[in-house]
Amino acid sequence: MLLRRILTALALNLAVAPAWSAQLDENVQTDKNVLERGQYLARAADCAACHTEEDGTPYAGGRPIETPFGTVFGTNITPDKDYGIGNYSADDFYHALTEGELPDGTQLYPAMPYPSYHSIPREDSDAMYAYLMSLKPVHLKAPETELSWPFSMRWTLNFWNVMFAGKDTAEAQQQFDQWKRGRYLVDVLGHCGACHTPRNVLGAAQSDKYLQGEVIAGYEAPSLTPEGLARRGWSPEALRTFLREGRSAQGSMSNEMYPVFHHSTRYLRDEDLNAMSLYLMGENPPEAHVVEVGDEATADSPGRRHYLNVCAGCHGADGDGIPHVAIGLQGNSTLRLQNPRNLVKAIHDGIEARAFNGFERMQAMPGFANELSDQDTAELTNYLRQTWGGLETAIDASKVHELTQGD
């Protein structure tokens, strides 16, 4: 019994203070509860998605982030003293997190979402700091970000901050706790607006178009407004499933959203996912629009023929998909976007294989750039959008060319 107690105590101590633990700010708590909370908050803030190279060590940096102004690299935020945050105090970390400024005065590019993180309270910052400082240091230097002039002049960001990165002082006192929690997760930690809000020519989010959708790395991060979500068939329940499982009847995570699921949303507690969907869709969400499938689903047409030729093998002749292999297309959210960009590019470029929670996964979808002409792709896109997306509009070959040129 004594031996068991000693071993248990030793194990707990190791869990709280690893042998490689960096010099922590003495004012920061590091007990097990704080570290777990810090880990949860870091996940909710989706730090790993940008600070982890593909297949790399978590938080060791190196992931390229494409911006309209050039490629920014996620930095090393392990406790390494040379290349990470090993020499940061809790104050330094809080300042960098919420103001985008490093201890040496270097101003971070707003690819780091400090405009969203402004509202992270000090106790949450300290918990995240304690967690990150408990990680094993990785002695790895992330590539230097080199933007073209004039964006390479970091001092200009001070003006950018004054113009665009003011703190959100609008406090919604009248709202209830779950709504506030959802707002914190969506607006602050999750920084959803960083991708889903249109940006102006200087790269700043346009607050009057909040969450109305934006193109990121060539793909549309669609509207997350209640009306936009409901129009594409989303209900709060479907949204929760999508964030927790990475897939739902409306589709599966892909492109820039997959890392968000992989590193962040799949770890969130149900009550937090509930709060997020409540905040996004409102207390009385608009009713999800259901697509009525008509006879055109099976009527002969050029689009139907392309579908049978290159899609039906995986998605089924009736668009039902194959469980654990390929998603269904009836009511699929991508088919219902007003802008055909994502659908055309998925057909043209394909989609990588994706692993989801448990043993669930979706196989890779091949790109059909070599099999389908622009005209073929336009016909297939129109068939998909009109049959299972409930859209009336049609695109032509020139639109396909416009969306895929340079690929």
Binding site: D300, R305, N309, A312, I322, P366
Partner: protein, 181 residues
């Protein structure tokens, strides 16, 4: 199930034009309508490429296409080669000779269960035909072969022998290496 006429040339012979179901995959057409069972059904998801056939394009180039996920009607009007079309045969069907790729597969004994072999033979053949049109430097050969064969899966993990067979086949085919006859 709706049907539609399909006209396709397989291994140099225009096949009888007949109505086949619109939703039929090419692999099933080859097996059930043409009795060409050398094209393998592997994963059924386009992943393993055991089902690969060669499509000969009008511009003289050739490419691999997976038949388990591609509808038969996609091949309407096209010319394809299956594994049965590689060896040279006489009028009576008697075997007269193997292609260089096939010879190399025999020489290197690039078979274990052989299930994936048709896909690998097709991939090696397409690669050689591409290199004859677009020769590469000798220094690039290893990576070019790797890139061509990597998508094909072999559950017996006989990759080294496949690789060596294709490399020797490339080296024995004139015009595939830049600056060398």
């Amino acid at each position: 199930m709706p049907t539609r006429a399909l006209s396709v040339t397989i291994n140099g012979k225009l096949q009888p034009v007949e109505d086949i179901p619109e939703e039929l995959m090419m692999l099933d057409y080859l097996h059930e309508y043409r009795n060409l069972t050398g094209t393998r059904y592997g994963c059924g998801q386009g992943m393993c490429r055991a089902c690969t056939v060669i499509v000969d394009k009008p511009d003289g180039s050739s490419e691999e296409v997976r038949t388990c996920i591609t509808g038969a009607h996609f091949f309407d009007g096209k010319k394809i080669r299956t594994i049965e079309g590689h060896a040279e045969r006489g009028e009576d069907g008697e075997l007269k000779g193997l292609t260089n790729v096939q010879q190399q597969f025999l020489k290197h004994f690039s078979f274990q269960c052989s299930y994936c072999a048709p896909g690998f033979v097709n991939a090696g053949t397409v690669l050689i035909e591409r290199l004859q049109r677009q020769p590469v430097d000798r220094s690039q050969l290893e990576s070019v072969i790797s890139e061509a064969l990597e998508p094909h899966l072999c559950r017996c993990t006989g990759y080294v022998r496949y690789y060596e067979a294709v490399r020797d086949a490339v080296l024995e085919t004139s015009g595939t290496i830049a600056g060398r006859d």
